[in-house]
Amino acid sequence: MKPVYPLLALARLRMGIDGKGVTTLIAGAGCPLQCQWCINKRLLREGIPTLVSPEQLLDRVRIDDLYFRATGGGITFGGGEPLLHADFLYEFCSSAPSGWTICVETSLHVPQRNVQIVADIADEFIVDCKDMNPQIYRKYTGGNEKLMESNLKFLLQTVGAGHIHVRVPHIPGYNTEADQANSVKRLKSIGFQDPELFTYTVRD
């Protein structure tokens, strides 16, 4: 049976936000983490996903094929956690026209099998590691940092640091700049020399 994707939102013609060139963001439902400041929480909670097949989704995004190919852009899967739907991503990417860049924005808080499936076919990964401190990570996400870190190492071995963009947020109320610096230090020891620092935007 063909896998389906719980599509929540689709945004065309994005530039300079989530990958190189012109991209279409595909947001899916479902995430194993419970992050307090999740900016998409309302949409994830209230949105009713539409289940689509790989072919149906391809039909919808193919409209920008020329822009993708001309700019080196393509598709960015966001969420939610897109790696929860690894089989779908594999089918989709296997059918996508050559010349599209496939990017996955992920927390890596998924079974390693899922990472392995998508590592074979995606071009770029954007990883929000939250915080490398176990206490902070667990308090903020409700998840297990060991799973994220082991997947991060696995991904590094599989696709190489050049295909992974690691981001380290300042999480208001949960970590400090010193914690961020500690996370960067930890990431560098793993093999990521240039993690990106940024700050979560907290909205009422």
Binding site: A11, R14, M15, G16, G19, N40, L43, I48, T71
Partner: protein, 151 residues
């Protein structure tokens, strides 16, 4: 990125594709003064026209050049911000909008767009809609990823 900036970049991409592939293509400056989503029916029709022409060239065995043609274009405008709020249309909401006046010389053989593919001019409308009855519309103008910032 503002819609107008986006529109200008996309227009430049279309022009480069046409020039590189010897496709007749003449476009004029958009004179629309209001809000812009970055694309509109006229822009979309130009894109479809280029696709059609490229297909014809391919069928004739002519060389096609598209890949990485515009890789050097700067995609971040000055003061670039995520300036458009998240819009989630209600189920069943009609996702059509005002069409921006756009003075463009369009080749006569341009294809007509289906209504469902038409992008409205308003920044508060989705880029396009193909929502089916009984499903939740899923197209939004901008959907924010957690903490995403421009590269």
């Amino acid at each position: 990125m503002l819609g107008k900036q986006k529109c200008r970049i996309l227009k430049e991409i279309r022009q480069r594709i046409a020039d590189e592939n010897d496709i007749p293509f003449v476009t004029q400056e958009c004179r629309h003064r209001g809000e812009c989503s970055g694309t509109c029916p006229r822009c979309e029709s130009e894109l479809r026209y280029l696709e059609q022409q490229l297909d014809r060239r391919a069928a004739l065995g002519k060389r096609i050049t598209v890949a990485a043609l515009c890789a050097g274009i700067a995609f971040t405008g000055a003061g670039c911000v995520q300036d458009v709020p998240v819009i989630t249309p209600a189920p069943g909401e009609q996702l059509s909008g005002e069409v921006a006046p756009y003075e463009t010389v369009v080749p006569s053989e341009e294809p007509e767009l289906e209504t469902s593919e038409v992008a409205p001019a308003s920044d508060h409308s989705p880029a396009y809609s193909t929502a089916s009855p009984g499903t939740n519309p899923v197209d939004v103008e901008e959907f924010e990823l957690s903490g995403m910032v421009p590269y």
